[in-house]
Symmetry: C2
Subunit: 346 residues, 2 copies
DNA sequence: TTGTAGGCGTTATCAT
DNA sequence: ATGATAACGCCTACAA
């Protein structure tokens, strides 16, 4: 396992606690050269005698010297650190967005520090408070409103991912829920459904998905009212199951439901089947997100697939624009539109 | 959407490109005070006249001033940044480990910068190269061997997550595969299985899971040979499907298979059923990891569940020990042991 | 090849 | 309540 061969304390002592970190000065002293020479050795600059270099490097090892990233950053500009704030790493949707962010960030040579707020408003603010000092920009999902965000942000550029109902004064990357629901509802209608309910994930205010859902349903002249919409507690499978059961009790006449996201939709499938309803024969289920998980369940989930990676990449691009002093993308350029993927559940 | 109300360039100009960032000096000048006073105003120190403070803050806003994190870090110690290197964010296993890391890191007031290497050795090295300059420690999954890691690490503390077969000279957090397989194989044997195959995920060298598998199978006096082990290409569902098909062709006499991880096991289930084999009646499938996805597939996956969050937390603790100059945990203290979760597939 | 001087942007300390 | 001065640790000139 572990030996003290490689990982040792400065000076080779193992257990006298953390001591002051060695500086370039210490190394210079121990090697009997100037700080400049140490710098040259450490940074592989030319113009240095191989012997002295070796001597310096030896001193570096002995003292376990590593250049201070702060001192370095002060003098070599160009290190960009972006913050990424995510509500729930356990929901497969977000790791995929994060993957897009990481990918695009790496291409630009940026670093990304990640926070998981667990959908907790207080944690959001904490994250922002820290990042406002440590990052050059932030992107992420927030439930706090603009004003609060601005307060904790202290002027840092911010890119909102999928800002819900509210307009925002920040740059944003959004989802074209309307375009998605248009396809989704059309598909259900085409299959003969006339009584379509929804399992919503936004408890407080109706979000874009619900509004798009209502708009589409009405556009097709179908009946619908608030009673046809059940609220999921959380964005997970369990929430979807509970909401579906509730809806099954309250509105047994529904023949199809639209789930706020795939997790909730999967929960709906499970609940329905447990109640003896066949999916899709007795109840069709339509999801939203396009998680790969949807291909694995039975019946496989018909859903409105989002390019989540692209969402992340787009966020990085927005940040880049902000940093460059350009105007961020707006409207359709800053949207990603879902695409209907028909599988077995609807 | 976006207005230039909040997010504007220094001075309010919008499109003359990025200009030099304002420093504390600029603010001091504009406000007609000393840098020190600016610092006081910005950091909410006492001992400052409310009026001057207001004036300074106004100047701050006008110039869009934000303190340099480098200069600050130089003078205020204590900011810890850890690197987290992960092979594949799309595999639900890793986000959960990451969640544990993030959680524990937050408790300590650390930041975490995340890299996704996509199981690419070169990306690993790139990540290490960057992190060696920008982080105070690194934890993660690596396929490069110790020597290479050390070279790119430049003396930075490293904690390996689940170092495969090889011993390592670095601190590590491991999985007690043997303890897991003991339970798993016992369960299969109890159910009457005598011909158990495996779908392995480690192509090159046999990893701990395969070795534990072989050891247990032999301990029970069961037959087994290399032909009973198929290699999955990648750690995903598709790899599992292909490997299972191959095994089904080559060794149709098998009545049970152990999957390297849950994704592969799920693939196995799918492939088997597609071939008309009933699971678990004709073929029992045992997974490893305990992803929540396993509860959603059909039949639900019997698996050796790991506390992935704890894995992440443990890694952070190891890093903390290293930083404190203490010896890292070793042996069983640095392991997490799987727990058999019996569901429908075996 | 090596060393010296100066500055990067901030905060702490000590005066005023 | 405010300002001057000196670090913090490193790097880029420039000089030797």
């Amino acid at each position: 396992m572990w030996t003290d061969e490689q990982q040792r304390e400065p000076g080779g002592h193992a257990s006298d606690g953390p001591r002051r970190r060695a500086t370039i000065h210490d190394v210079a002293q121990l090697a009997g050269v100037s700080r400049q020479t140490v710098s040259r050795a450490v940074n592989d600059k030319g113009e240095i005698d191989p012997d002295t270099k070796a001597r310096v490097l030896e001193a570096v090892r002995m003292l376990d010297y590593r250049p201070s990233r702060f001192a370095r950053g002060l003098v070599r500009k160009g290190t960009v650190t972006a913050g990424l704030v995510i509500p729930d790493l356990m929901n497969p949707f977000f790791p995929e967005v994060a993957a897009g962010v990481l990918e695009a960030a790496e291409e630009r040579g940026w670093q990304v520090v990640v926070w998981d707020t667990r959908t907790d408003g207080a944690k959001e603010r904490e994250a922002l408070g820290v990042l406002s000092h440590q990052a050059d920009a932030v992107m992420g999902y927030f439930k706090n409103d603009d004003e609060v965000l601005a307060r904790y942000l202290g002027g840092l550029p911010l890119v909102l991912l999928e800002r819900g109902p509210q307009q925002t004064r920040f740059a944003a990357v959004g989802i074209d829920a309307a375009a998605g629901l248009e396809q989704g509802i059309a598909h259900l209608v085409r299959a003969g459904h006339r009584r379509i309910g929804m399992l919503d994930g936004d408890r407080l205010t109706p979000g874009p998905r619900r509004e798009a859902f209502l708009a589409e349903v009405r556009r097709h002249g179908l009946p619908v009212d608030d009673g046809w919409i059940a609220m999921s507690d959380g964005h997970g499978v369990a929430g979807g199951e509970a909401a579906m059961e509730q809806l099954l009790d309250a509105r047994p006449q529904l023949t199809a439901v639209f789930g706020f996201n795939d997790l909730i939709a999967v929960g709906a499938i499970r609940a329905a089947r447990r109640r003896g309803r066949r999916v899709p024969e007795d109840l069709a289920v339509l999801g939203f997100d396009g998680l790969s998980l949807g291909e694995l369940v039975e019946p496989a989930l018909t859903t409105l697939r989002l390019d989540k990676r692209r969402l992340g990449r787009l966020a990085v691009e927005q940040v880049a624009r902000l940093r460059a002093g350009e105007k961020p993308l707006t409207g359709a350029d800053a949207w990603v539109a879902p695409e209907l993927v028909v599988r077995a559940s609807a």
